[in-house]
Symmetry: C2
DNA sequence: AAAGTTAATTATGAATTCATTATTCAGTCA
DNA sequence: TGACTGAATAATGAATTCATAATTAACTTT
């Protein structure tokens, strides 16, 4: 019998924060759209109070924007925001890489190796969905390996905001190949527990992601004109 | 006549977030204490709804901890939390230092120089209050100079959580002198716009703060036994 | 008297209600 | 026809109410 399940019942607004954030990150609620309180309440079967509490939290996390007497709108994904977010995220990843080399245990490295293999397989079969999933798992496992809750929570927030961008721009074949190379290097550096090397590589990896994203966005803009 | 004042009236819960956060940061509400909803509502003259909304936000920021059906408690300041927070804060300061060297304008550097002079004066007259204020202004001005909103908001959050610790431990004369030296170096590197140097120095400065804090906490622990 | 049990009280989470502010839309006038 | 006005409608922010869970107090029972 599992006792923790019945005890650890999350409160209503916490669940709503999770679900609404997912709606934003997964691009179900589109940037700029206003969040329809009443509609969401009906479809989720809750009253406005916990939903509004959740919206305040989401606003403080930057996923929605509140306007007095005008409710909440989904925060838009601007190029400027990305250009501000990625450097911060990159620095946090650098720190995570350094700390992970010191603190991660062997079992976790093996787990990452397996997910790394999954990722390579997904790359070879050009399965974007599986690739993204494996990629995300690897990064998360590395962050967890850093053994720093504060780092983890701030990383999670920024990663969520960045994840929205991937729905806007598909990565190029060229960038995809480069990303694979970078991951190969990261894997080796982690196994060698080269803190400085892994940190720098992870930072660079993230900044290269930004370059690719900006390029993709520019290409998209052109195609729209 | 100033028209912007009357328009930009912040919403009730936003004001409450600010005020409650200050109560926590300024150590009016002590770590571990439970937050008395009813009492606060009475003394602030608001109903529970906006207050509770504010508490959810504060919880997501890490200043209070919510327990289902047991309300909110002020988050405790543990040594472990500090040891997790400082490295993250230090990395953010490093990034801020690098970006500030690129983006800050001359007028802002001059402003920082003036506050730096104020800080030296406060040090010489051993005015802790004035010293802390000038110190905080300098760091904030540097962050602003980085021209990165995301960086700024995350820094603000972590800085707030760290600030609580200074109420728990007074810094030693030795550390104080060291901090002054570090600030002198930072000032020179900023004026020279040495991005790498300023970043590294600011990071080190922050990590030294942690060491001093941990030492002070240990000394305090001993004196209590 | 101390530990355990039950009833009264209080606090909490969430729904509902209410006042106010935006928004929509029909009607007016240039 | 098209911009303006104002009433009708809808939404939002905040207070209030209500059901339930936690805490306290009173009361056994040994």
């Amino acid at each position: 019998m599992n006792l923790t399940d019945s005890i650890n019942r999350p409160t209503l607004h916490e669940e709503l924060v999770e679900r609404l954030r997912n709606l934003v990150v997964e691009d179900v609620l589109k940037p700029g759209e206003k969040v329809p309180e009443k509609q969401l309440c009906d479809s989720l079967g809750v009253s406005r109070t916990p939903l509004r509490e959740a919206l305040k939290v989401l606003a403080s996390e930057g996923f929605v924007v509140l306007q007095a007497n005008r409710g909440a709108r989904v925060a838009s994904v601007t190029r400027e925001e990305m250009e501000n977010t990625f450097p911060v995220l990159a620095t946090l990843e650098q720190l995570a890489g350094e700390l992970a080399c010191q603190n991660i245990d062997f079992a976790e490295i093996e787990l990452i190796e397996r997910r790394h293999a999954d990722m390579l397989k997904a790359y070879k079969s050009r399965d974007r969905q599986a690739y993204f999933k494996a990629n995300q798992d690897i990064h998360q496992a590395l962050i967890r390996g850093a053994r720093n809750d504060i780092l983890q929570s701030h990383h999670k927030l920024l990663a969520g905001r960045v994840r929205r961008a991937r729905f806007m721009a598909n990565l190029s074949d060229e960038r995809w190949a480069q990303a694979i190379d970078e991951h190969e290097a990261m894997m080796e550096l982690l196994k060698a527990r080269d803190a400085d090397g892994l940190g720098k590589t992870m930072k660079l990896h993230m900044m290269n992601k930004l370059s690719a994203l900006v390029k993709a966005l520019e290409a998209e803009d052109e195609s729209l004109c």
